[in-house]
């Protein structure tokens, strides 16, 4: 078998040689025959003639020889290819539609699948990643949340003392810090990790070593590990970097290690410093993450069971819920926020793929229906069934190949765009490459749809009954099952598009509602700049205050600036969580709230209204009575029916007097209202002037404060002037971010906007595909019923009526699809309502928009081709019949 195949392929490569040798072999034969004849006495000319006659036709012998060696088949393939290419050019509309559909389906589906696969299902870049997990302390009644795995210092100590596994404690986020070199000051991202962190991940440093236990204690030496990127970028890849000191956060740090180039921890970090976990300060809250590696051979369930043997911390409160230790797989923890949006994208693209395949099928059914009479004719004239099928397969393959090449282009372009886009929206670390399996699978799927549906009607014609096609009239094609199948496909397409459009509409509407929320402040003409104060030079409260005072004074002198202020966090961003209690409550009762320190000018700059009492002023200094301003949401949720102004409040163990109530602003919060991107979070504002040095150090480790500057009109040159002020006050302070307040607001919704935008694009593509399908069916109907409509008009029917009769086929199909799709939409919407904030399953405006769009689709795709009927001249038709 293989011998023959190999021999045939070899022949194919050397077919010129083969033909030449065949010539030579045959002329040798004829010459020898002639010689023998001459020997028997024939004269030379007669002998040669006789030899030729006896040999017979060399042409025929050669042709049959080639056939025997399998070369004939290849000749046919070549002929079919040429024929198919001619056909592709001859029916440009069909070809363009097929190629476009293929390209879009293959390209988009393969690229989206590649991204989703890379982000969600690619193993983490560490050795044996399935044995890495994060520790959680959770309420068994509620289950564990892979997205929230932070623990307090005391919880970490239990894992350290009783835990069965290798582990390391670290801070899962990176904070911005200042790195000062002889050339410049830079803002870099620092992650703080405990001793053994890199060992547990399984990645040793490229140079030097990681932190040891003696360095990871409070008051330990200042040491740092650099990322490969920072090492090459800022230190020129200096091979002698180990042991040298760098100036980080205003202090001298000794470099002890450099991580390899392809390494990244679970967040983007440029430099690592020891965590120095404690149970007070940072460790007093849930700010630590514990990484666990369980031994090889152990399953996750076994490891989780072992973990739950750790005694949970006892609460003095009897009503406190029971807690349990457990594990969350590291990959699940890291992709917790990405899973839902990405699966949405994948679902949408899968639906589009189905619509695309249905469309390809429909197109090919139409085409082979239209060709039935051609096929029947060829068959009647003696064309072999095999040859006919081979020719049609070749035609499909040529289109498939062209579509595939175009799809490959679309796929790579889309992948580049999508992965860039997705990187700006989500913190993903995975390398995103084209998934060849996905590409091949999508390509195969489209091809199968094309082949299957393109060949089925053709094959039926080849049955003995097929000759009826010829009898039934050469011009028309028979409808029959092929056409019904095509109509069913279209109904399915419309149903899917309906569901897709409705889901998209719900998301977009939900997003609009979010964006339409009253922000509670005026974002126009406000510039924000951010700096990291996690710096030894700003360890004392006095130093921070002096920076605020001097920079704000300088900024206010810039022409056009009407007011300026500073705050730890901005609206629409995540705030600092802090515990508070009311005066009469005992010391164990702590509730969560957001706390923001602000300078006196903050409320005025953002135009946050003071509803009662007063905002801060310069008299609220350190050493004076501690004061606080609460927002309306705080009053509503915590101080109902109480005297607010003048009452005391214990926030983070400091008693303060409430002097004012301000309006709410939209804020992202790290706690409460799960899934809600922003809400009017209860907040306590405190004056920056009264924050202690210890608290400044703590909060500046997590947050980089922002300055806000309001101008009377838009001032494009403002940023430069503001930064010059900072440079004058502290030339070593690198800027972390410059953005208008409007940009900050927009960034808060960028994920939602990305998902909504993506869905809109996909839904519109699917709509376009369904429209093409509908157009095709009605156009076919027009051709088929031309004669009938001509007759009707000749008998007195109006052209309008004829157009309606033909066009209404499309409208009917759309309606049927709409009904089916409507039911599916309702089910889908109910699920989405559970998963996404702001989505209500029954949304009349979205529904109305959906109906409008589909009505437009049905009308355009049906009556555009149907209008041709109206322009028919009955007399012409009658002559044709």
């Amino acid at each position: 078998m293989f011998h023959r195949l190999r021999a045939r392929l070899r022949l194919l490569r050397h077919r010129e040689d083969f033909n030449r040798e065949l010539d030579e072999e045959m002329s040798f034969h004829i010459d020898r025959l002639a010689e023998d004849l001459m020997r028997r006495g024939m004269d030379p000319d007669a002998a040669r003639r006789e030899a030729r006659i006896r040999f017979g036709s060399t042409e025929r012998a050669q042709a049959r020889t080639r056939e025997e060696r399998g070369l004939a088949l290849f000749d046919e393939v070549g002929r079919n290819l040429r024929f198919a290419l001619r056909g592709t050019v001859r029916s440009p509309l069909f070809s363009a539609t097929s190629i476009l559909t293929l390209a879009l389906c293959i390209g988009l589906a393969a690229s989206v699948f590649s991204v989703v696969h890379a982000v969600l299902w690619q193993p983490l870049p560490y050795p044996h990643p399935d044995h890495l997990a994060r520790a959680v302390l959770y309420q068994p009644a509620y289950g564990r949340d892979p997205g929230s795995t932070n623990l307090t210092g005391r919880t970490w100590q239990r894992i350290r003392d009783q835990g069965p596994f290798e582990h390391a404690v670290y801070s899962d986020g990176a904070g911005g810090v200042n790195l000062t070199t002889s050339q410049a000051a830079a803002y870099v991202r620092q992650q703080r990790v405990g001793a053994g962190f890199f060992h547990v991940l399984g990645v040793p440093p490229e140079l030097g070593r990681e932190f040891d236990a003696s360095e990871d204690v409070p008051g330990g030496p200042a040491v740092a590990i650099l990322s490969h990127g920072l090492w090459t970028r800022t230190f020129g890849g200096d091979p002698d970097i180990i042991g040298r000191t760098i100036r980080l956060k205003g202090e001298a740090y000794t470099v002890v290690g450099v991580m390899p180039a392809d390494f990244r921890s679970d967040t983007k970090a440029d430099v690592w410093t020891p965590l120095r976990a404690t149970t007070t300060g940072e460790g007093g809250g849930a700010n630590y993450t514990v990484l666990v590696r369980f031994p090889p051979g152990m399953t996750f369930q076994e490891a989780d069971a072992r973990m739950s043997s750790i005694q949970p911390p006892q609460s003095s409160n009897e009503n406190a819920p029971t807690l349990r230790f457990g594990l969350v797989p590291l990959d699940a923890a890291l992709t917790a926020g990405l899973r839902l949006p990405l699966l949405f994208l994948l679902g949408a693209i899968a639906l589009m793929l189905v619509v695309g395949c249905a469309n390809l099928a429909g197109l090919n059914i139409a085409r082979s229906l239209a060709r039935q009479s051609e096929i029947a004719t060829r068959q009647a004239l003696g064309g072999g069934t095999g040859a006919l099928v081979r020719q049609m397969v070749t035609e499909t393959l040529v289109l498939g190949f062209l579509g595939g090449v175009a799809g490959l282009g679309v796929a790579y372009a889309a992948l580049t765009g999508l992965s860039t886009l997705i990187r700006t929206q989500f913190d993903i670390w995975q390398a995103v490459g084209m998934d060849r399996t996905a590409l091949a699978m999508v390509f195969g799927l489209t091809l199968v749809a094309t082949l299957l549906f393109g060949l089925a009607p053709a094959v039926r014609v080849m049955s003995p009954r097929g000759l009826r096609v010829l009898v039934s009239g050469a011009r028309g094609a028979v409808g029959g099952r092929g056409h019904l199948l095509r109509k069913s496909l279209l109904v399915g397409e419309v149903a899917i598009v309906t569901a897709l459009l409705y889901a998209t509409g719900l998301l977009v509407h939900g997003y609009e509602r979010l964006e339409g929320l009253d922000p509670g402040f005026d974002a126009r003409n406000v510039l924000t700049v951010r700096f990291s104060l996690d710096d030894a030079r700003y360890a004392q409260a006095e130093e921070v205050r002096q920076l605020f005072d001097e920079t704000l004074a300088g900024i206010r002198r810039i022409p056009g600036v009407t007011s300026a202020g500073a705050a730890l966090t901005l609206p629409y961003e995540r705030g600092l969580n802090e515990g508070f209690r009311l005066p009469e409550e005992d010391s164990t009762a702590y509730h969560n709230t957001n706390v923001v320190y602000v300078t006196p000018g903050f409320f005025k700059t953002l135009r946050i209204p003071v509803l009662r009492g007063r905002a801060f002023d310069d008299a609220d200094e350190a050493g004076r009575q501690l004061v606080g301003v609460v927002n309306q949401a705080f009053v509503t949720s915590n101080l109902k029916n109480r005297q607010v102004l003048g009452s005391m409040l214990d926030v983070g163990s400091s008693d303060m007097r409430m002097v004012g109530v301000v309006g709410n602003v939209q804020q992202a919060a790290g706690w409460g209202r799960a899934g809600m991107p922003v809400w009017e979070t209860p907040t306590v504002y405190v004056p920056a002037a009264q924050v202690t040095g210890r608290d400044f150090r703590l909060v500046h480790m997590w947050f980089s404060p922002s300055w806000v500057v309001r101008t009377s009109a838009s001032r494009p040159d403002l940023a430069g002037q503001v930064l010059r002020v900072f440079h004058r006050v502290d030339p070593d302070l690198p800027v972390a971010r410059v953005a208008s307040l409007q940009q900050v607001v927009n960034d808060a919704f960028s994920k939602q906007r990305f998902v909504a935008g993506f869905l809109i694009v996909v839904a519109l593509f699917a709509l376009l595909l369904a429209g093409i399908g509908l157009y095709g069916i009605v156009a076919h109907e027009v051709v088929q019923r031309r004669a009938e409509m001509g007759l009707r008009m000749a008998l007195g029917s109006s052209p309008g009526r004829a157009v309606w009769t033909v066009g209404s086929t499309g409208v009917r199909l759309t309606l049927l699809g709409l009904l089916l799709g409507g039911a599916a939409s309702m089910a889908a919407a109910r699920i989405m309502g559970f998963l996404i904030y702001g989505v209500t399953p029954y949304d009349p405006p979205t529904l109305a928009a959906l109906l409008g769009v589909l009505a437009l689709l049905a009308a355009v795709a049906s009556f555009l081709p149907a209008a041709r009927v109206g322009r028919l001249h009955p007399a012409d038709i009658l002559r044709e019949v």
Partner: protein, 113 residues
């Protein structure tokens, strides 16, 4: 005299294999051998020889090689492969049985039926 078209299907292949079992030779040589060994009873359509040779070669029953003929001209020489030898033996058996069966039938006298 029997013409090529009168042969049973597959017979020509068998004859070629047999002719080549006597030793490697070129296409014309095959023809001469068959005509000679059939004692002049068979006359082949000469052109039809080559498709048959190609078919046998394609099936791996014979192999071909360019060589020099007895009158010093370049010619393609065919010879049996191992597979061809086995096939010839099988075909010969089959043929013998068929001839026997057919002869038995044709030799039947009325009293034996």
């Amino acid at each position: 005299m029997l013409m090529t078209k009168e042969l049973l299907p597959g017979t020509l292949d068998m004859l070629i294999l047999k002719a080549l079992s006597l030793g490697a030779t070129h296409g014309y040589g095959v023809l001469l051998r068959i005509e000679a060994t059939s004692r002049g009873l068979l006359s082949l359509e000469q052109g039809s020889l080559y498709p048959a040779l190609a078919r046998l070669q394609d099936r791996g029953l014979i192999s071909a090689e360019w060589g020099v003929s007895e009158n010093s001209r370049r010619a393609k020489f065919y010879q049996l492969t191992h597979q061809g030898v086995r096939r010839l033996a099988g075909e010969t058996d089959r043929w013998a049985r068929m001839v026997e069966a057919v002869s038995n039938v044709l030799d039947t006298r009325p009293s034996e039926a």
